[in-house]
Amino acid sequence: MHGLQMIFLVLAVVALVSGGFVIFQRHPLRSALWLIVNFFAVAGIYLLAHAEFIAAIQVIVYAGAIMVLFLFVIMLLNLRQPEAEVRFMHLGQKVGGIVLAGFTVLLVIYTVGKVALPPGKSAPLGLGNTESIAKLLFTDYLLPFEVTSVLLLVAIVGAVVLAKSRLK
């Protein structure tokens, strides 16, 4: 097996195991910490796929900013006691949820498997990764880029409004 394939396998296993821990940890704080591990593993996979800029953004924005926000809120809410034990009423829901999720994914895999992909290209990207993204961002994707800035502004205003005024 190729070395890079081995690295991919290790990163994938780390991502899946830490993702499982996110779900099955009782305390949300531990879920958040395992989610950071998951994000780092996914960032490594981005690196393997020659998406260096996206990998850096993944670590900075996801593992950095978003998870710090999550940890702040978890500590702000001060949820000392972990989630209550499984009540019998919820057990059916849980099994049903797992079965439903598995069925959905099998359906997706079946559908994707039926699509014949056109052969990929083996030519390397002409430019450096960050440079090519920047070129595309400021030419073809200029309008979505500007709309994104408006979206972030709306999110800031919304968060401030929600944080300041109490819901009646």
Binding site: L4, Q5, F8, A12, A15, L16, G19, V22, I23, P28, L35, N38, F39, V42, I45, L48, H50, A51, I54, I57, V61, Y62, A65, I66, L69, V73, L77, E83, H90, Q93, K94, G96, G97, I98, L100, A101, G102, T104, V105, V108, G120, K121, S122, P124, L125, N129, S132, I133, L137, P144, T148, L152, V154, A155, G158, A159, L162, A163, R166, L167
Partner: protein, 101 residues
Amino acid sequence: MVVPVYCYLGLSAALFALGVIGVLIRRNVLVIMMCIEMMLNAVNVAFIGFADYFKAVDGQMFVFFVMTVAAAEVAVGLALIVAIFRNRGTVYVDELNILKW
């Protein structure tokens, strides 16, 4: 293209399934939001895999925009959760049933 594109798609599907399971079986709304983040990440993995497969940067652009939307969603969602917790004193979705009436 050392890693075949099907590996990326499989990992993406598995991560997405984990996110769906988390959303369906957990009661804590914070953990549910974390699982939504995980699902967004799963979709990003598929985008990146295809971007590598077709040697096109457009897939990476979409990941960029998905991340921006995720950041905005988390900011507003967490503000909502804090507001709900102040008002109702709980973060468990089975106790937030006021819209059922």
